[in-house]
Symmetry: C2
Subunit: 162 residues, 2 copies
Amino acid sequence: MNTLQDAFEHGLQAVYYAEQTLLKAMPQMAQKAQSEEFRAALEQHEEETRRQVMMLEQVFQTMGIEAQAAPCKSVDGLIADAQELMSQAQPPALDAVTLAAAQANEHFEITKYGTLVAWARELGRQDVEGILQQILDQEKQTDQKLTRIAENLVNQRAQKAA
Amino acid sequence: MNTLQDAFEHGLQAVYYAEQTLLKAMPQMAQKAQSEEFRAALEQHEEETRRQVMMLEQVFQTMGIEAQAAPCKSVDGLIADAQELMSQAQPPALDAVTLAAAQANEHFEITKYGTLVAWARELGRQDVEGILQQILDQEKQTDQKLTRIAENLVNQRAQKAA
């Protein structure tokens, strides 16, 4: 990995791995969700993530490189931590803990796409920068929506029930 | 883990682990940094992180609970990924890749402290909410500073040298 182009290609492969791996973990999170609004948000994000995987495939195609996933220990770790916490937590703490794990996943994606957008711009690849910016905006919106659900609903319920 | 208080205490232990573990990994990142401005930012953040560990100990003390670290696979994964990338990357890509890894660490902390601040508020613990908010603000400022260094210096150098 010698050039910014190399780093960019590896970064794409890393988010491709992240999206696919997090997608597989989402149904379990939605299933654990106690509050309807939270479950609906997770299910909606699952659909969005499927579209993001296709958007990433479009980026690979535009770049003329094969769509490949580069495994990341950080993604595996996020999922392992979430599963461990969800197995230990009971209602009313369960939703608060699951929602925090979902936000950790979003922030992981936000930093990765933020980097990729900056690198695409520097590489003069406006053709893929726009797609990556669109995914980044979606991840930020999901994070903000989860913050609203946490503050207005999940945390209050967890505290009231205690 | 049944209550929001339980979740909060575990979350504190998790960031205590994160800060201590990331602190140990910082000198290696600073040593790898090619650009002086980037290295200085990493070294400054190392000092700040030492103070944050003490601030967390103050939170534990105020809460009347023992300062304990709860290992997280996600933190271990972030460090493992960073080390693997730094070992594979050569200048001029090296700084861009190292900086992206440093920002991934910041975003991990931002999401964790964001959750802890919200939980402290819900629990009516204004006494520790302020300290956690202060750390959160510092992490966000570090992330913004790294973005500026990336966009104005590191990425440009990586692309020009290619």
